[in-house]
């Protein structure tokens, strides 16, 4: 690595080719917009590169990618939601009153519920429901305890159940 700490041009190209697809795909899923995803991919990759040389393996690099891309995209979503009209409530499916798992398997539904969720819960919810990570993996990625992960998921579930019960099923 040169003195500036920036990897050589060839190394950047190799790493961008290797991890770029995962970042791009993730940004597309979260932002639902190709152009925004392209811009976000560059931003996220630049941030990932600042850490990636210390990653012992691809799994550790992916943990950074998840964390950084989630934060970046959530910021974009938050900025966007300040201007955009909220999704019509009746576009969301009805919950069964017990568990959110069936609805949350649909990532579009999951993201719409996430957008209605307090910011402190969003990152945890995305990693668990959208990415399908285990609670322990979410805790490790975010540097929080598993207990905190469980508490945040419970709060999200309670909020979402109330919301779904209040708004009803699609007509």
């Amino acid at each position: 690595m040169p003195p500036s700490g920036v990897p050589s041009t060839g190394r950047v190209s190799d790493l961008y080719r290797k991890f770029g697809p995962a970042i791009y795909s993730r940004c597309r899923r979260l932002l639902k917009d190709d152009a925004l995803a392209e811009d976000a991919t560059q931003e996220v990759f630049v941030r990932v590169m600042r850490h990636i040389e210390a990653a012992p393996d691809d799994s550790a690099a992916l943990a950074w990618i998840y964390r950084i891309s989630t934060n970046y995209c959530l910021n974009q979503i938050r900025d966007r939601s300040r201007q955009a009209e909220p999704t019509a409530p009746d576009e969301l499916p009805e919950g069964d009153g017990e568990t959110l798992e069936p609805q949350m398997l649909d990532r579009d539904v999951a993201m719409r519920l996430v957008e209605r969720t307090p910011e402190k819960l969003r990152e945890t919810v995305i990693l668990y429901y959208v990415d399908g990570l285990e609670q322990e993996q979410v805790a490790r990625t975010l540097g929080i305890s598993r207990r905190t992960v469980i508490n945040r998921l419970q709060e999200f579930q309670e909020r979402s159940r109330k919301f779904l019960a209040r708004e009803g099923s699609p007509s």
Partner: protein, 256 residues
């Protein structure tokens, strides 16, 4: 290790690692078998492959020059240079070289990458660095996963404090004093104390897994380890000690 999560699906991480050919062969085989049986995961696998192709064909070449330009502008900023200049005289050549890599790889401004705890400037700070085997040192941050046998070192900005103590409560709730190692009370800072001080203790992590909390206690008078232990056990989220500044850091210890 099983490829599916507790909900019976492949996580994004597993699917990404499969695309990167970074799964162990047994796990990769299991994941591929699951894809044949699970329409949801199959759909996600196809989406990832589609996005990957799209990225390689249309996005990569067009955006690479911008990414390279952005990274070439990522010179160490004020805080990185500041940290490096202060630390170099106090450290051995090998450690300094390893830390230089860590700092140089950082961003140019204060961002999410910032490793400080607490307020910048002359306020007390607490930084933790880890070294794995003979590898380079790296900063321990909130999302850093450490392993048994990783070695920890501590850097503090003591401010006006005259005494320092670093302690830990591990995943099983065991309290230990890391600096001065095993001591009953905090260490007096003597002589010309640099603004940022690397403490002399190096701690090798044991095999207790889970979340470990570290605290540095900076004070004008000596503080008993027992008092720190009581504060940590009473209020682990925000331990308080009268007449002392307590800064905390957490990391997760996982199996290799």
């Amino acid at each position: 290790m099983t490829a599916t999560n507790a909900r019976g699906h492949l996580s994004s991480e597993t699917i990404d690692l499969l695309l990167l050919s970074a799964l162990a062969s047994s796990e990769a085989n299991e994941a591929k078998a699951h894809l044949d049986d699970c329409s949801l995961c199959k759909q996600r696998w196809l989406e990832l492959n589609e996005d990957s192709q799209k990225f390689k064909q249309y996005v990569f070449a067009r955006t690479l020059p911008q990414v390279e330009a952005r990274l070439s502008e990522s010179r160490p900023g004020f805080f990185e240079r500041f940290k490096l200049q202060l630390l170099l005289p106090a450290l051995g050549v090998a450690t300094a070289a390893a830390l230089a890599l860590t700092f140089a790889a950082g961003p140019g401004t204060q961002t999410e990458d910032d490793i400080y705890i607490g307020v910048k400037g002359l306020e007390p700070t607490f930084e933790v660095f880890a070294q794995r085997e003979a590898g380079a040192s790296f900063a321990v941050k909130a999302n850093t996963a450490l392993r048994p046998k990783d070695k920890l070192r501590f850097v503090v900005t003591p401010g006006q404090a005259k005494y320092v103590l670093v302690a830990s409560v591990d995943g099983k709730g065991t309290f230990s004093v890391y600096h001065p190692f095993g001591a009953a009370e905090s260490e007096k800072l003597t002589g010309q104390v640099p603004r940022r001080l690397e403490l002399g203790s190096t701690v090798e992590l044991d095999d207790t897994m889970g979340t470990e909390k570290l605290v540095v206690v900076l004070s004008d008078a000596p503080v008993k380890a027992e008092a720190v232990k009581a504060a940590l056990l009473t209020s682990p989220a925000a331990p308080k000690l009268e007449g002392a500044r307590v800064l905390t850091r957490e990391f997760v210890k996982v199996a290799p």
